[in-house]
Amino acid sequence: MAQSVVSRNIFVRIFYFYLNGFRSMTLGWTLWAIILIKLFIMFFILKLFFFPNVLNTNFKTDAERAEHVSNELALPIPNSDNK
């Protein structure tokens, strides 16, 4: 049941605006469940276990990263037979 709250504090009013909005949702719960499951899969499974940032993980400083990319870009490039 939506709750009507009268408060002078803008933050309290915003809080109750969202709270009542969420409470009165019908289809919204399903959508929020989909969003949360999706974000969990993306950030806590895919990002964490499958998508490390290669340069941030393997090198500590920007100088090391620049050095690595510079070496990678020096000829010959692996896989250059692939279009």
């Binding site: 909005g21 009165s24 959508l31 290669v54 870009l73 250059s80 279009k83």
Partner: protein, 518 residues
């Protein structure tokens, strides 16, 4: 399959899969958002409660699409850091800045105003609610702007200078990046194609209601709004598509040659209206005809690409061999260098980078200055330094050619559809013509095919370049195993398919439910 597909192929396939799935959700957000805003504006101006009911119905479908699609694009950013780390480092802040702005914009604008849009009925004033609805769609559109600016820069890199110390391209003119003609055309072309999809979506659902003799008031009113938004969107799509093709002709002539299957250029080049490519044509160097069958509109390609009836449009062979008059990035007329000449310059640039780094380690400033100069002089063709055979700079012609012609043909079909539907509405005949209503219903999947074809043209047409002339895909890739990418490819395929099934399922349920309890 690992033997057949390298890490580059798997990474490209994964990026394509993610981008194409993401692109199922985005255009509907842009198009349906605009339509909902227009409907709410009508409600605000007329005070007619049935418009409020109509607005809330379409807003629910907008919400479903938004919720399922939100954040699917973030996966592309994961891939930059893992699969394309050389590229990510190399582009530096040029790519990062628009994406960061997009993230902040998307978060603050969309997340704030979308809450008011859904929770604010009867809690904020009608005017404030209307403003929130418009700001949600404007926020989504501005988000698209930054993504498209980043994409346009990859197709036409401007406003940057390469710094050999950091091995990064550094932006010196944000304005040049944002206002590049490629970015401007791409932005309007892409966003308004979303309007077309929104229009078709609304027409399709409305037509289904009319066929079922349900929600007649909603369906008739929505049909009109959908058709008008679609028509306006389609006209802008056509105009900006022409602008995009002109930009492609100047900045990415190889892409245009692939789009039209042109191997040998000529003055007064015709546009292929319909054509079947010859599968026996295996190489640019063989003597096979490019087409088994073709119908051409005389001189039209020259007019579109050069704005001159007898303008010269180079074909694939011309671009590889060079020798024709063209313009460089600064806009000066030059004789086009051959690909072999570009490869020689590219190799000089790449070697100069290595020499620069070596001299830097040895503290040899004189050698650093000399290498830096050689790098500057040849940097325009840096990516050609990795090309070992001229055939590598040709995009996959069949994909690009057929995708382009599917897009154009369907675009013409939609233009005709919107005009006919509006004319039939005006004559009060549409609602009795069952076959025409079915045409509207089945046009929805066709619209998605059209939109995806557009992306195939844009992204496969620029192959092998991840940054035009500066970096090919095979130099942009990280040192990772193909098996890793293959695993995540199938994970994404599963995740996105589940999301798509969820979206379609919830949408269909809501449509069947109609406006009851709204």
């Amino acid at each position: 399959m690992n033997d057949l597909f390298s890490v580059v192929d798997w990474s490209r396939a994964q990026f394509a899969l993610t981008a194409m799935y993401h692109w199922l959700f985005v255009p509907l957000t842009l198009g349906l958002g605009l339509i909902v805003s227009i409907m709410e504006t009508i409600y605000y101006r007329t005070g007619d409660e049935s418009w409020k009911r109509i607005t809330k119905f379409w807003m629910t479908l907008f919400g479903v699409n938004f919720a399922i699609g939100v954040a699917t694009g973030i996966i592309l950013e994961f891939q930059f850091g893992t699969n394309w780390s050389n590229y990510s480092w190399f582009v530096g802040d040029i790519f990062g800045a628009p994406l960061a702005i997009e993230g902040i914009m998307a978060f603050f604008m969309e997340s704030t105003f979308i809450a008011i849009m859904f929770f604010g009925w009867n809690k904020v004033s009608k005017r404030a609610h209307l403003a929130a609805t418009w700001l949600t769609v404007i926020g989504a559109t501005i988000s698209a702007l930054w993504i498209l600016v980043a994409n346009a820069w990859m197709q036409y890199p401007v406003g940057m200078k390469f710094n050999p110390d950091t091995v990064r391209n550094e932006m010196f003119s944000f304005w040049e990046v944002v206002s590049s003609p490629v970015a401007v055309n791409k932005f309007f072309h892409t966003v308004t194609s979303g309007w077309v999809l929104g229009g078709i979506f609304v027409m399709s659902v409305s037509a289904w209601y009319i066929l079922k003799n349900r929600e007649m008031n909603l369906a008739k009113r929505s049909m009109k709004v959908g058709a008008w938004v679609g028509l306006v969107g389609m006209l802008i799509v056509a105009y900006t598509g022409d602008g995009s093709a002109f930009q492609v002709a100047e900045k990415q002539p190889m892409k245009l040659a692939a789009m039209e299957g042109v191997y040998h250029g000529e003055k007064g080049q015709g546009l292929v209206a319909f054509g079947i490519l010859n599968p026996e044509k295996k190489s640019y160097a063989d003597n096979e005809d490019a087409f088994l069958f073709e119908i051409k509109v005389p001189k039209l390609l020259s007019i579109l690409a050069t704005r001159q009836v007898d303008g010269f449009v180079p074909g694939i062979n011309d671009i590889i061999n060079g020798g024709y008059v063209t313009k460089n990035l600064a806009g000066d007329e030059i004789v086009a260098p051959s690909v072999m000449e570009k490869m020689a310059k590219g190799k000089k640039a790449v070697e100069a980078l290595s020499a620069y780094k070596k001299a830097q380690k040895q503290g040899d400033e004189e050698a650093m200055i000399a290498a830096g100069k050689a790098l500057d002089e040849n940097y325009e063709y840096f990516g050609y330094g990795y090309v070992t055979d001229p055939s590598q700079v040709i995009p996959p012609v069949p994909y690009v050619f057929y995708a382009f012609h599917v897009m154009i043909t369907l675009g013409c079909y939609f233009l005709l559809l919107f005009i006919v539907v509006l004319w039939l509405i005006r004559k009060d005949r549409l609602y009795k013509m069952k076959w025409m209503l079915w045409v509207c219903v089945i046009s929805l999947p066709i619209a998605y095919i059209c939109l995806e074809s557009g992306w195939i043209v844009a992204e496969m047409g620029r192959q092998p370049w991840v940054i035009e002339s500066i970096m090919p895909t095979f130099a942009a890739i990280s040192k990772i195993g193909a098996a890793n990418v293959q695993t995540t490819f199938w994970m994404f395929a599963a995740l996105f398919t589940v999301l798509l099934i969820a979206e379609v399922g919830i949408m269909v349920k809501q449509i069947k439910k109609g406006t009851e309890q709204k």
